[in-house]
């Protein structure tokens, strides 16, 4: 059952081949068998999942519900889920039972999905390897010695191992696309403002965006359809019409103008990954696309700019975790200052503390102009690069990550090298553009992701472009050994 697409599962549910309860039990059993080695889930909500599945079955029997009714999925543990622990991968929120559902969770529930549980992630989404989680690192299903990428590493590993039909993720600098690439699945980060951020625990508010992680573009389209749309509870969500993402999946790519930024194929790119990506682009040429080289001259500034903007926002966003109202509180504080200092020192992990410190520094009096303001200016330059590029091309393609999955522990002591693993994904967040990663030919038994970047609110085109590739190739159907 778990090798089927969401569309096939939906058909099976309707045909009565299996019930949602059976399907849910099947996935729960897989989680039970396979997740011990992967550690992709923080919380498994078995009881709730079965109750939701039963409700879905009733709807299906009555001929009601939509394509997602009864489909078991998982939520990244950054999304608030009512009555269920929402830890954000942190000791700080280990005891946090959310009193409300995030908009994304609510919308998917309304669409009838079954929630199997909450997936592991880098603490507060800060990391590119899923090693900063309070609940331990997630392993890559393709090779348990390798990282799955991050920060949505749990969702990526769970989908790659088919422990759920699809999962939600969030992407602040590549946190959907990079783990999707490293785990060989399909992930899309929509345009900033396309999906509501309400109930998604904030890391860097001006960059954070939620999106689906799935086995294929076709499945991702169904998930995004349910997740996207204006939400009056999020002032940064946009009142844009919501297209039918599945309707345009089969449009021809004849004449599609593809830009390859030369900066994405520089010396930092692994030779094997380069070859795989170039092969993938040949598939597009065969489909009638016109490929040309373009330039995004400020690409080199993206990582540095990001590591000013994101920490600045995170230092403020994470101030609410102070041990006063909820979350982790240190034992026996002697006074208020002690309460703050120890609750935060003990509640946050090292990477989070590092970023809070950087953020507080770049915002502090006397440094604000030199760092924060300058970063905002660079952000405009980066956006302008894309604006320029999209005057000539329809989509931009390149690698999602410079390398395949690296070893657990390999980069955890070297933040800069870790940060550089998002070098190709960060710029799209800075610009607020939609980006996607789809699997192309593996290198050394490890998946490689082709990144496709689109213009604002052009998710339908990205999904179409990805789907057409997946009609020609089988990379997205390849499964890790033992899955």
């Amino acid at each position: 059952m778990h090798n089927n697409s969401i569309t096939q599962l939906a058909e099976g549910l309707r045909a009565g081949d299996f019930s949602s309860v059976e399907l849910t039990r099947h996935y729960l059993q897989r989680i039970n068998q396979l997740d011990e080695g992967l550690n992709s889930f923080i919380t498994i909500t078995e009881e709730q999942a079965l109750a939701q599945a039963e409700a879905a079955d009733k709807k299906l029997t009555a001929g009601e519900g939509g394509v997602l009714t009864g489909i078991p999925i998982a939520h990244k543990d950054i999304f608030c889920t009512q009555g269920v622990r929402t830890s954000c991968g942190s000791r700080m929120l280990d005891n946090f039972i959310s009193p409300y559902d995030a908009t994304v969770v609510e919308r998917l529930s309304d669409a009838g999905v079954v929630m199997l549980g909450k997936t592991n992630m880098d603490e507060f989404a800060m990391g590119s390897s899923n090693e900063t989680s309070f609940y331990g690192p997630v392993r890559n299903p393709w090779n348990l010695d390798k990282v799955p990428g991050g920060s949505s590493g749990g969702s990526a590993a769970a989908v790659a191992a088919r422990l759920c039909a699809a999962a939600t993720g969030t992407d602040t600098g590549g946190s959907i696309r990079q783990p999707a690439a490293l785990c060989g699945i399909t992930g899309i980060k929509p345009t900033y403002g396309r999906v509501s951020r309400y109930g998604m625990i904030a890391f860097a508010s001006s960059l954070d965006q939620a999106g689906p992680m799935a086995a294929s573009a076709e499945d991702a389209a169904l998930m995004l359809q349910a997740m996207a749309g204006f939400d009056q509870r999020d002032s940064t969500s946009m009142q844009q019409p919501l297209p039918d993402y599945s309707a345009t999946l089969n449009e021809s790519l004849q004449g599609l103008k593809v830009g390859l930024p030369k900066e994405y194929f520089d010396e930092g790119l692994d030779a094997g990954v380069r070859q795989s990506v170039e092969q993938a682009i040949e598939v597009y040429t065969a489909l009638g696309a016109e490929v040309r080289e373009i330039t995004l001259p400020n690409t080199g500034l993206a990582v540095a700019t990001y590591y000013v903007v994101a920490p600045a926002e995170c230092s403020s966003n994470l101030s609410r975790f102070d041990g006063v109202r909820g979350g982790y509180r240190c034992d026996n504080p002697v006074d208020l200052e002690d309460l703050y200092k120890r609750s935060r020192s003990e509640g946050f992990g090292e990477e989070v503390k590092l970023r809070i410190l950087i953020g507080a520094y770049v915002l502090s009096a006397g440094y604000y102009d030199a760092y924060y303001l300058k970063a905002q200016k660079l952000r405009h330059l980066i956006s302008d690069d894309f604006k320029q590029a999209f005057e000539d091309v329809d989509v931009i393609m390149g690698p999602a990550s410079p390398t395949t999955a690296f070893g657990v522990g390999e980069k955890s002591d070297d933040p800069v090298s870790m940060y550089l693993s998002d070098v190709y994904t960060i710029a799209t967040n800075m610009a607020g553009l939609p980006g996607m990663s789809i699997p192309c030919a593996p290198v050394g038994g490890l998946p490689v992701g082709l990144q496709i970047i689109g213009n604002y609110f052009d998710e339908a085109r990205l999904l179409n472009v990805a789907h057409q590739f997946q009609q020609q190739t089988q990379w997205h159907q390849q499964l890790p050994e033992g899955v």
Binding site: G199, I201, S316, S319, R320, R325, G327, A360
Partner: protein, 481 residues
């Protein structure tokens, strides 16, 4: 040496919206702790602020009323600091791009001098919660009902030169926000709070002295006292060879002194930056036009009109336009009553006294302005005398009906029939031969005083209903004869 005091005020006024500035929770004062704090106010993980349109509208009204520039684009920033009653660890405020730009208000000093006070800016921000240090046995309770309440912070130029001036300016702003209805201005409930920036400099010196910021002032009286104390402290300090340091000082109304809270060096670095959860506020012409469409007549304009239309003195006009409710009351009563002088005297006299005694404000007066005008009218047309009017007023206060109803029911209509009055006068004269004798033998200048006895007798005999003017005339005529 002669010293000059320089004062600027920062006034935080709570906007009269029914819900909070960034959430849908209610803003009613005095609810059970933490019953008016929703997920957003509690700073729950994942929640987001959504700007209250009404708060923006009220800020636009205020800005327009003081002739200030309304910024078409304003930006919310985060002011970062840790405090237990600040749930998010930052306050959402406006730093670089406030919604209201420079404006000014005119104040009238005690000697009648008019003075323009510059308003640098006014910006929107959210209030914090409240820390409760009592009743928790060594612990602190946090009440977040107030967290997220919309505030308009109105910042003045350092244009005031004495504590009295500062109070006049603060009262002026208070009057304006209450006229506009943008705030209830209730100081006890914290809806109107003043911080004062105070410095001194040798008279004639251009350069400003080092200032201290006085906080925790919750009445006009304390504002005056705090500034006076601080001015004295600073002058004394300098004259003794010391130096004023830039710091925040807390006013203690029990001890009537200010004391240091934190110095500039200890001050927080608030690490302001634009709040990425909120888009810049873009106002279009339609929004602004709509916001100011029913702007009420402002106190200065109304005062001038009262002077012109009713022939009031500047003093009376200023008093009667003190609040919008009082001005409305007076205007209605005077228009119906048809006699300005009587209306002024009675509104400021009898009515004020009764309200004071009952501890009521004009808006909750048991006698409506219309009813009060009816009473004035009956005095003006001589239906009743002033003395009877007091009795009628008391009956109206107790809810016995309109002036006319009471006059009719109690038969209080004044006797103006000269034949009837003459009969009573004759009777009184006949019954008081000794007093008549005394009167006639007295010096001319003593006679008016002695006339009082006879007037009293006549009024008594007529149960107060005889027209006093006619009584006086008749008595003088008959006694001299």
């Amino acid at each position: 040496m002669q010293w000059e005091t320089v004062i600027g005020l920062e006034i935080h006024t709570q906007l009269a919206t029914s819900s909070k500035i960034f959430s849908g929770a209610a803003t009613v004062f005095g609810a059970e702790p933490n019953t008016q704090a929703c997920l957003v106010d509690l700073g729950m993980p994942g929640v987001l602020p959504v700007l209250n349109r009404e708060a923006v509208r009220l800020a636009v009204m205020f800005g327009t009323a003081i002739g200030a520039e309304i910024r078409r684009r304003s930006v919310f920033d985060r002011k970062n600091y840790f405090y237990p009653d600040l749930p998010k660890g930052y306050q959402i405020s406006q730093l670089e791009f406030p919604i209201v730009g420079p404006g000014e208000v005119e104040i009238i000093l005690e000697d009648g001098e008019r003075r323009i006070i510059g308003v640098t800016r006014a910006h929107l921000e959210e209030d914090a919660g409240k820390s409760l240090h009592e009743d928790f046995h060594g612990m602190t309770g946090i009440d977040l009902n107030r967290a997220g309440t919309p505030l308009l912070e109105i910042v003045s130029e350092p244009d005031m030169r004495s504590a009295v001036e500062a109070v006049i300016y603060a009262k002026k702003i208070h009057q304006i926000v209450r006229y506009l209805g943008v705030s209830d201005g209730n100081m006890q409930e914290g809806s109107f709070r003043c911080d004062a920036n105070v410095s001194v400099r040798p008279l004639g010196q251009e350069e400003l002295g080092t200032r201290a910021e006085l906080k925790n002032i919750n009445s006009f009286r304390f504002l005056e006292r705090a500034i006076n104390y601080e001015v004295e402290r600073q002058i004394e300090l300098i004259e003794e060879g010391g130096r004023v340091v830039q710091e925040t000082r807390l006013y203690d109304s029990d001890k009537d002194e200010t004391r240091s809270m934190r110095s500039k060096e200890e001050a927080n670095d608030y690490r302001y930056f634009p709040d990425p959860d909120l888009l810049p506020v873009e106002l279009d012409d339609a929004f602004i036009e709509d916001a100011v469409a029913d702007l009420p007549e402002m106190p200065d304009v109304r005062r001038a009109r009262f002077e012109a239309d009713f022939g009031l003195s500047q003093q009376d006009a200023a008093t009667l336009t003190g609040s919008r409710e009082l001005a409305d009351y007076f205007e209605t009563a005077a228009t119906i009553g048809g006699d300005t002088r009587l209306s002024v005297n009675w509104v400021m006299g009898e009515l004020s006294a009764a309200l004071n005694k009952a501890g009521l404000d004009i808006a909750s007066s048991p006698v409506s302005a219309g009813q009060f005008g009816g009473l004035i009218k009956r005095m003006a047309d001589n239906t009743i005398s002033g003395k009877i009017a007091k009795e009628v007023f008391e009956a109206m206060w107790s809810g016995d009906g309109s002036a006319d109803e009471i006059i009719d029911a109690r038969g209080l209509k004044q006797i103006t029939d000269s034949g009837a009055i003459e009969a009573i006068v004759d009777e009184v004269i006949a019954n008081s031969p000794q007093q008549v004798e005394n009167y006639r033998q007295a010096d001319a200048e003593k006679q008016p005083k002695m006339l009082g006895f006879f007037v009293g007798q006549v009024m008594k005999a007529s149960k107060g209903k005889a027209n006093p003017q006619q009584v006086n005339e008749l008595l003088r005529e008959k006694l001299s004869g």
